[in-house]
Every structure is written in structure tokens, then in C-alpha cells.
């Protein structure tokens, strides 16, 4: 059967999901044009909202019969264009599967449907003494399913690891419509499919249910903001703290450019002349924290820290974290459009990549402000431009590309947590080479044989739908 239009199968979809489970009125579809990456847009032919795993599987099978591409969508906070239906077809939204099914402290496990918000789970666990460790800055909006699909991290990844370290099992619909249930009990007689579906960005399977690991809340925190005279000093201090064998819960950096916007938005009162601020959090048993803090402060001082100030109250700690986590939200105040990049280098190369970012900014005439999960070597340069100005768009994309190429040159990678989506697909071959991509492709062939699920994402392919404007496809500047 030849590829149908999703609009041809609306009656079947409605039969499966009810009228309220299908959107096809063009006016309703506008919001599904794009996600957190706003420069690449494409309208889906319809959006569906399954509420069970079985219904999700039925949708996938229907699409396979009619050769209709589909793209999964959680909250749509992807910064890699992972939710953009570049091949047209259906968007499968999981936002109506948002029940927390079970919390078992004795088993240190929660069972949630994929559309449960990260914050919703955090709230349900508040006061139990346990939490779900991955805490992306977008946690007020993003879904657990989205976290699983992108293997999301966050500030506290430094000590607690990324999403894959906290997933005990999943229920999922593979690209061929098969339902699999993996875990939560360890199964030696199996390949670790959970381990590969996590982070596969909706190109192997639609995850519908997740068994997550719960982590004990730390007894206490020491959260400090350290003011540095230069970004160079700050990144060198971070690298030294890691090398000294100290494992803080988080080590985040913000540079002067972003600090100004953040302070205007949230009124923390950062010194206006600070070149960089590190937010360092130590957590664990109360008894040992001050000792650790003394060591951290000494290292910072060796790198010319102007001051090391401890958050005095829980409220002050909360505000400090708000400033860091909502930093990106403040960027709108200083630029009409922006792209948040996501690169990663070995932690000792952090000072070097920060210097490169400054150089690239000047070379392309694109202002860049920085936040970073610095302890992991994960930089998030934010490129400021104006979407209405073609030349500005072009320069921003070229700068982003050069920056990621520098990450590769430093022995790093083109994404630490946001994923490839469609945004970085053009750089996959530079990073891995054709041969290794072929091997990756086998996994997709096995789980999602027609590659219809997540069409045109993650793995480059000559017959994939054209992507117009991303760092991977843009022309380099001379």
C-alpha cells in the first residue's frame, strides 16, 4: 500500500481513541509545528492522544499499514527538534497518560505513565524522604517519558547520574507495533533493551510506562555561589575540584552575559561586575559537609575567587536554584531569538572549550552567553540572534556548528543531554563516521524496521525528509 495521508485514517483513529483523542483541525495543529527548537517547523497532519499502551500499539500498527510516519511528543520541550514531524504524518502525544501508578519506598521504585511531568513526580514524592534524581532545568514542564527518551540530565547529574541510571524498567511499543515489557526486576536472560531504548529519542519505541528508581533525599545541603574574576578561573576551579576527588552534587556555571538577564528577571542581587558565578552544591550527611565545603572553598580561592557565599536559608537556596534553572527563560529579555547549544568535553578541557566559545562568538559576530553543567564538562552556550534577519540566522547556525566541531576536536561529543533530534543529525557522521553509524542503524532496523517512527531523526539517511536550517546542514562561513 502506498503512503496515505493521516487525514485518510481519521475515522479509524477516532474509532480507536474516541473523537477527543484526535486533533485534525488545522487551527488546532499549529502548536505542534515545533518544539523548543523554534527555527525548524513542520505541521503534522493530525495529533493523537492515546491513553493506554494497547491503544498506542494500535495506532502504530495502523500507521504501519498505511505507511504513515509518526513522531512521539511528550511536553515538547526538546531543544533538538525531536518533536518536529519533518516527514509529515501523525504526532503521538502522550500527555494524557499522566497517572502515577505506584510509589513503593521499600522497593525504592515508582511506576508512572510516560506523560507524568517530572515536577508532578517530585511533588508526589515530597516529604517521603525519597526523590527521582534526574532534574532537568525544564522539569516544571517536561515529562518522564521525554526524560527517558532523551536520557535527560540536569544539574545534579554530576553526583547522581543521568536518566538511564534511574530507570528499572519500561513498557513500550516498538516501531513495528510489538508491545514489550522490560524489568523492573533484573533479567539476566535478556539483552538490555531498556538500556538502548533510553536515549533513543523516540526512534526505536514509544515508551508508555516507566519504573523509576527512587533516591534517598540528602540529609543536608551546602549551596554556595562563588564569584570569579573570569570564566577561565571558574572553569579551572571546577576542573580542579573534580580532580581532587570531591564529588559535589552539582557544579553549575553562569557567565556575566546571562547573569545580567537572570538578575533582571529574578532579582537575586548578583554583583553586576562578576565575570562568572559558579553554583556549587554539596549534599549528604550533615556531619561531613562543612569539611568538604572548606576544601571546595580553598580550591576556588586558589583560582582567584572573589567570594564564596553560602545560601543562608532554604529560601535563598531555592532562589539560587531558580536563577540557574530558569536562566534560559530570562534570555528572552536580551534577545529576540536564541539557540541553546549542548556540547560536552572531557572535564579537564572545560577551560579550553570556554575560550573557544569566546573566539567563535567574535569570529561570527554572534553574541553568546553561557550556562554550563560544568562539573560534567557539559556546556550550554546560548547563541543570540534575530530570527527575522536571514544573515543573523545564518551566522548563528555557523557559529553553533563550529562550536560543536570544537567539542569533537577536544575529544567530546555534540550532545550531552538534549539529543540529536533533527538539529544535529548533520554532525552525526563527523562524530561517529559512516561505519559506526551503520552499526547503530542495525538496532533501528531490528526494533523499528520501517524507520517510520521518528522518521528522519537521529540517524542520517540519504532519503530522509529535507531539513532546512540546522547546525548540521548550514553552510560554513569562509
Amino acid at each position: 500500500m502506498a503512503r496515505s495521508s493521516a487525514t485518510d485514517v481519521i475515522p479509524q483513529l477516532q474509532k480507536l481513541l474516541g473523537r477527543e483523542g484526535v486533533l485534525s483541525d488545522p487551527a488546532d495543529l499549529v502548536v505542534y509545528d515545533c518544539d523548543g527548537l523554534t527555527i525548524e517547523k513542520r505541521r503534522p497532519e493530525a495529533v493523537v492522544f492515546p491513553t493506554t499502551t494497547e491503544a498506542t500499539a494500535e495506532v502504530v500498527r495502523l500507521c504501519n499499514r498505511h505507511e504513515i510516519p509518526l513522531v512521539v511528543r511528550g511536553a515538547g520541550t526538546s531543544l533538538a527538534g525531536g518533536c518536529v514531524p519533518i516527514g509529515g504524518g501523525l504526532v503521538v502525544s502522550l500527555t494524557r497518560m499522566r497517572r502515577i501508578l505506584e510509589i513503593s519506598l521499600r522497593d525504592r521504585m515508582a511506576v508512572v505513565e510516560s506523560g507524568v511531568l517530572n515536577l508532578q513526580l517530585a511533588r508526589a514524592l515530597a516529604g517521603t524522604g525519597f526523590h527521582f534524581a534526574p532534574d532537568p532545568s525544564s522539569q516544571t514542564a517536561c515529562t518522564i517519558g521525554g526524560n527517558v527518551a532523551t536520557n535527560a540530565g540536569g544539574p545534579h547529574t554530576l553526583k547522581y547520574g543521568v536518566t538511564v541510571n534511574h530507570v528499572l524498567g519500561i513498557e513500550a511499543v516498538l516501531g513495528d507495533g510489538t508491545i514489550v515489557r522490560l524489568g523492573p526486576v533484573f533479567d539476566r536472560a535478556a539483552l538490555d533493551l531498556t538500556g538502548v531504548i533510553v536515549g533513543s529519542e523516540g526512534t526505536l519505541a514509544i515508551v508508555t510506562k516507566v519504573w523509576v528508581r527512587l533516591t534517598r533525599d540528602p540529609q543536608d545541603y551546602r549551596t554556595v555561589r562563588v564569584v570569579f574574576e573570569s570564566l577561565d578561573d571558574a572553569s579551572a576551579a571546577v576542573s580542579d575540584i573534580i580532580a581532587a576527588g570531591i564529588v559535589p552534587a552539582a557544579m553549575e556555571l553562569m557567565d556575566r552575559g546571562i547573569l545580567a538577564a537572570v538578575d533582571e528577571a529574578y532579582h537575586f542581587g548578583f554583583p553586576t561586575d562578576a565575570e562568572a558565578i559558579a553554583v556549587i552544591e554539596l549534599d549528604g550527611l550533615k556531619a561531613g559537609l562543612d569539611e568538604q565545603l572548606t576544601r571546595v572553598a580553598a580550591i576556588c580561592q586558589r583560582h582567584n575567587a572573589r567570594e564564596v557565599l553560602q545560601a543562608a536559608t532554604a529560601d535563598e537556596r531555592a532562589l539560587l536554584w531558580k536563577c540557574r534553572k530558569m536562566a534560559v527563560g530570562a534570555v528572552g529579555r536580551i534577545s529576540p531569538s536564541y539557540i541553546i547549544q549542548d556540547g560536552v568535553v572531557p572535564r579537564t578541557r572545560l577551560p579550553e572549550i570556554i575560550r573557544q566559545i569566546t573566539r567563535i562568538s567574535a569570529k561570527h559576530g554572534i553574541r553568546i552567553v553561557n550556562v554550563a553543567h560544568a562539573g560534567d564538562g557539559n556546556v550550554h552556550p546560548i547563541l543570540l540572534f534575530d530570527e527575522r534577519d536571514r544573515d543573523s540566522v545564518r551566522r548563528a547556525l555557523a557559529a553553533g556548528k563550529e562550536l560543536l566541531e570544537q567539542c569533537i576536536a577536544c575529544g567530546g561529543s555534540i550532545t550531552a543531554e538534549h539529543g540529536i533530534g533533527i538539529e544535529k543529525i548533520g554532525l552525526m557522521e563527523t562524530l561517529f563516521g559512516k561505519e559506526n553509524l551503520e552499526v547503530m542503524g542495525r538496532l533501528r532496523d531490528a526494533l523499528n524496521p520501517a524507520a517510520r517512527l521518528g522518521l528522519g531523526k537521529v540517524l542520517p539517511s540519504p532519503d530522509a525528509p529535507k531539513i532546512l536550517e540546522t547546525v548540521g546542514t548550514c553552510q560554513a562561513l569562509p
Binding site: 522497593d107 526486576v185 533484573f186 536472560a189 538490555d192 550527611l285 572531557p346 572535564r347 561529543s413 552499526v439
Partner: protein
Amino acid sequence: MSNGFLPTTETVHAESAEMVAETVRRAGSQRSAVYPIGGATALAFGAATETPGLGLSLARLNGLADYPARDLTVTVGAGMTLGEFGRLLRKENQRLPVDVPQAAAATIGGAVATNFSGPRRFRFGTIRDYLLGLTAVDGSGKIFSAGGRVVKNAAGYDLARLLVGSLGSLAVVTEVTLMVKPVPEASALLGVALAELRKADSLLASLVESEVEPVAIELAAGALPRQSPLRLGDGTAAGQLWLGFEGSETDVRWLVDKAAACCRQLGAEPRLIDGAAEAGELWQTLADFPAPDGQPTLTVEAAVLPSQTVAAAESLLKLDGGAAILCHAGDGIIVARFACPPDRAAALASDAREAIRLTGGKAAVLSAPAESRLDRSAVWGPATEALGVMERVKRKFDPQGILNPGRFIFATGTP
């Protein structure tokens, strides 16, 4: 016959990834099986196979490729032993906190292939949580690499994770990049003898409520060897619970005090082991529990929800009161050793699997006497619904089915 477990006709000692690739290609053209061998400590693990083939030893691929210690990452050949690896890291006051039995002989490639872990799993997870990237050779002799050398990486599919626990049935691992951790300042273990196993449940439940977070929660039960350092009390105890703690001196002191108070509240007097030598020996005993002791033994590993650990251990003891059992109770992992003549292994394995199924878990055979020749279903249990898709993955990586044929869950692979 190299060791009684594998029908190898000869063994090639690979000196490079290229040589591994060449060997696999040559075997492929002759449709001969290939059995990767690391330290040969876990060759009893896996179903018996009659298919003759080449042994492919990785032991000489044991070099250090890169150790940027300040990044806390390291890249080594798959044939490096865990003992050697540990010494290397120790110089930088770092370690890989995954416990593997017989570390002196077992290799890193073997640890990836078998996905074995021990007591510290509760706090530190398994090898998958440290594996950043690797190089391997698939069943057609193609060298590929996956992942990278940075601690956080979301680019593409994580094929390194796919190979963890695949028992060398998808690819031969030649080089591995791992994330490592600083060595903690202090370590201690606290043990309590339990008059009945059920007592462990109330103790573990009270730990959840308290602020005590051990790195290991070990429950030993059944017939432990008389001289085992795991034994406590006058020898009449039904079990002993060992809590392991690591961290700064201050942290460990606080944790031990608090945990001891918890135990006393429940009427159990704890024994503290905090001398470096004595604690070291105890950690070693816990980690080496599955290792062979020269007796014909059936070793079964079960996995249940953590809250079902005691019930599962009891149900295994009901099968054979003479079994020796060690549970990683925080993770619901139970290792049971049954003294067992070869001809009884299959029946006992099947009884154990059924007992575990009733507590909601899964069981696999870790090792059995060589002469028992357990087949796939005896070792791995009945096929699950996901086997079909796993078979598809297997065919993509090893189209001729020459890598460890018949040893893992796959039906494919009798050349």
C-alpha cells in the same frame, strides 16, 4: 578442550583488535564457532554447547590506552584483569566500584560480557553505569566503536549498553572506556546475627525510615562454610545481615552509630568491623561468594523486588536447607549455592526457578558442574515475549550465528 566447558579445538591469542577481526572473519568463512575468552573464570556460565570452534583469548589485549585521571575516565584493553586495573586506579586514589569475583583473573571484557556485580551494587550500580564507550568486533568481523570518552553523552544509540550482559553473543569487546570514582576515605561493616530470617525484613524496613544509607545490604543465610567470616554468633543464627558503609571518616562514624542504634532498637547486638584489613577481607568474601570452591555446585542467581528478598531466600532454603545463600538485599538479588551432583542440576534449577517465579522474580543458573551439560532452557528459563526482537538484534550483529553459539538465550547460532 580448554577447560571442560567449551568445545574448543584450538585457542587464538589475539594481540590487537585487527587480529580479533581477522580471526572472526576466518572463522566465519569456515562457518566455525568462536568462543571469546577473557580470564576464563566464568566459562561455566551459559548453556552447554556441543558446537566445536575456536577459542579467542583476549588476555593479551591488556594494555592501558589512556588514563586522564583528572577526568576520572580510563580506556583499557578488554583483556586487562580487574586486579591489574584496580592497581592502576589505586595509584590515583581511584577505583571502579563494581565487585567482580576472582578479580585477579577476571577481565574487564568478561565483566562487560557477563554483567556481574556484587555487594556495592546497591549504592554504585552495575558496570553499565560506568561504561562510556567501547570498541568491539561483530560476528562478521567488522570493528566498530560506540559511545565516547566523556561522562555524559546523548549522541545516537548506546551500543555499549547493548553489549553489557550479552555474553559475547553479539560482538567481541576489544577495548573499553570507563568512568571511575575516587576511593572513599573510610569503610566499615556492621553485622547482626538473626534468630530468624524474617527479622531482616523489619530491620530493612526500619532502615528505609531512618537516615542510614549503606552502600551494601547483604543478607547471608543457610549453610555458610564453617570458617566463613560472614558467620556471626554461636552458629545457631538463621542468617546474618551485613551493612556496608563507605565515605568520609566523619560520615562513616555517623552512619555506623546510627545503624547500630537501629539494630539495638530491634533487639539485635551488632558487630562492627572497621579495621582496614578485617573489613577488606569481609568485602572480598562478599564479592567472591559465587566463585567455585572445588565442590560440585549449582549456583543460581535470582532477582526479585527488594521487598521480596527474604521470602525468595526462604523459598530457596526450603528446597535445600543445605544451600548457602547471599542476598544483595537492597537490590533483590539472591545468589544461592547448592551442593549438587551433576545429574540433579537440571531438576534443582527448575525447582529453584519455579520457587522464584512464585515470589514474582526471575532466576538463571550462574554455574553448574561441567558434566551436567545444562541446556538453554535449564540455564535461562523459558523464552519471554521479548525474545523475538532480541533474536532480530542478534541476527543483525552476528548473521552467521558464530559467536558463542547456543550459550546465551538465542536459538540461532548453530553454524
